[in-house]
């Protein structure tokens, strides 16, 4: 074997080695993911039944179900989306359809990116100070929903802008060339073609908002509350906070462990289901699109 051949072989071996290392870390990532899923599913599966989903907690949360937490999460996440989606979509329309490149747009984009980097607990603190204390809304459903809306606004804007960007420019040019005004073009040509993209983005934001804990701890989630909230100024139970309570604050964490795992499973299932719906929807829409 010549020396040159030996060098080439050595290089080949080195290449194989390093690519194997990279592949190993990729596998490790997948392993962690599936291990978490497996752990939650296998240990949470047995506690889930109809009673668990439809009954209130009993005997200091050691028995019964998590119905108030499910309903509370549903309420707060829906309210959040009702507030943040219209605001997010109008912001996205401005950024993508009206705004021309300039200082204002750069500042807006900078603040969107910075808002999405602000820690969730800081949003919680802000919501506590502004909505609960200063505006006197108290720790309540509406304070928590407003806090989560502000937090999810950047996500909705980004998703809606992507949906608008996906509409080809020829649509806009065609509308304007036919003599339609800018707004007519946006409303009748651009929005109908972007709306499903915006909807999937909103569903994904809903899923993220439903899983958030830190902001609602400070702004309205209740430790234990057997009655459902009847007005916007009531406090509420929520699944993520319920899981936190069961895992760390309960007197006998070992006894409530199965309920905690059940809650974790319901929460993960909800979040993944919402994501799945969004992905399938997006896929269906893309298939129908002719452009």
């Amino acid at each position: 074997m010549t020396e040159r051949q030996a060098t080439i072989n050595r290089k080949r071996i080195r290449e194989k080695f390093w690519f194997a290392v990279c592949g190993f870390f990729m596998l490790l990532t997948l392993a962690v993911l599936f291990w978490i899923l497996h752990d939650v599913i296998s240990k949470g599966y047995s506690s889930i039944n109809w009673t668990f989903l439809t009954e209130r907690p009993r005997q200091q949360m050691t028995e019964g179900g998590i119905m108030p937490a499910i309903v509370g999460t549903f309420y707060v996440a829906s309210l959040t989306i009702i507030i943040s989606v219209p605001l997010g979509i109008t912001s996205a329309i401005y950024l993508n359809e009206y705004a021309s490149k300039g200082l204002l747009v750069r500042i807006i984009r900078l603040s969107i990116r910075n808002l999405s980097g602000v820690p969730s607990i800081v949003y919680g603190l802000f919501g506590l100070g502004l909505f609960a204390a200063t505006l006197k809304l108290g720790t309540s459903l509406i304070s928590a929903a407003l806090t989560l809306s502000i937090m999810s606004l950047p996500w909705v804007i980004t998703a809606s802008e992507e949906a608008l960007k996906a509409v080809p420019n020829t649509f806009r040019e065609g509308g304007l060339a036919l003599g339609a005004t800018k707004w007519q073009t946006i409303r009748q040509l651009v929005l109908p073609n972007a709306i499903s993209g915006m909807a999937t983005g909103s569903i994904l934001s809903l899923a993220r908002a439903a899983g958030e804990t830190a902001p609602i701890i400070l702004t309205g989630a209740a430790f234990f509350l057997p009655v459902l909230p009847s007005s916007l100024s009531d406090r509420f139970m929520a699944m993520p906070y319920h899981l936190y309570i069961l895992a760390t604050q309960h007197m006998s964490p070992e006894i409530v462990r199965p309920i905690a795992y059940g809650t974790a499973l319901v929460l993960i299932a909800l979040v993944m289901l919402l994501n799945l719906v969004a992905i399938i929807w997006r896929y269906q829409v893309r298939k129908r699109q002719t452009w």
């Binding site: 603040s111 808002l115 800081v122 701890i217 936190y244």
Partner: protein, 342 residues
Amino acid sequence: MANTDETSLQKAKQRAGMARQSEQGGYSREVQEELLQQSSKSNLGNFLLEKAFMLSGMLTILILLLILGFLLQNSWPALREISLLEFLTGRRWMPSSPEPGFGALPLILGSVFVTVGALLMSVPWSIAAAIYLGEVAPGKIREILKPIVEILEIFPSVVLGFIALVVVSPIISNVFNLSSGLIGLNGAIVLAVMTLPTIISISEDALNSVPKDFKEASIALGATRWETVRNVSLPAASSGIVAAIMLGFGRAVGETMAVLMAAGNALDMPLKEILNIPLPTLMQSLRTLTATIAIEGSDVPWGSTHYHALFVIGLILFVITFVVNLVSDIMLSRFQEVNRND
């Protein structure tokens, strides 16, 4: 009905006649005025609409300023009572005791050590995984793997914290022979997992946007694919990868639930003296800035010094993440610009 129809028909005919007439000399005055009115009306409508959209677009600026202003305003009473220096260097955090202490240094160090520990694990891990995704895996496998990795991002942080609490911490206490596994290391591990999808996905994008010519030129010069990755792709993508790491840092330092449930929350300084030199340690229970707000924020009396002190912590967190995001933003846009020029 018939009458109005007739009159409108007549009007239309008239208008058509006028329009035809005007072919030589423009529209008649009447039609001109009508058209002008219509267009100025819709112009005004469009103008107002545009302004309304602009206002809603500016909402994010307003919110960002509002958050900053609110944090500043509410921290002020605490900063006036306790100096900022005392806040940043004091070693005793006992805000609700009769002799309150407002030294946030243990919390700041806790946040920094856990985050750095997490990144020490997740950065090599995610860059290796990103290299696999972007440079090694065949197209089809990549298409499948990328969305799977992103599933990791949608796990609620409280679920990951729960796993760290009930599954990982017993393992840690067994391996290191500790009475409790709720230590900084546990928090760092769960944070490392949480930053994986962010760093992998952005680094992979960065590797992917390195121009193909670079890689082809390197292969054509006789380099192996690994040499190409190491000497061409990685350096060319480096500012994108650094931006990814910064974003991961921002995410980890701001994460609350996972680290709150995993790291034990003791208020000691996370330092261990070896040969009289205090060294950072993750082998003891520690508490982060975020966890402090979560623990104390829900039952602090509104308006007390303690309440305002929590806003100082919020302000510190805000400033850290703001700077980190700004820097990563600049890195990313520079990276994109460099690649556009090529």
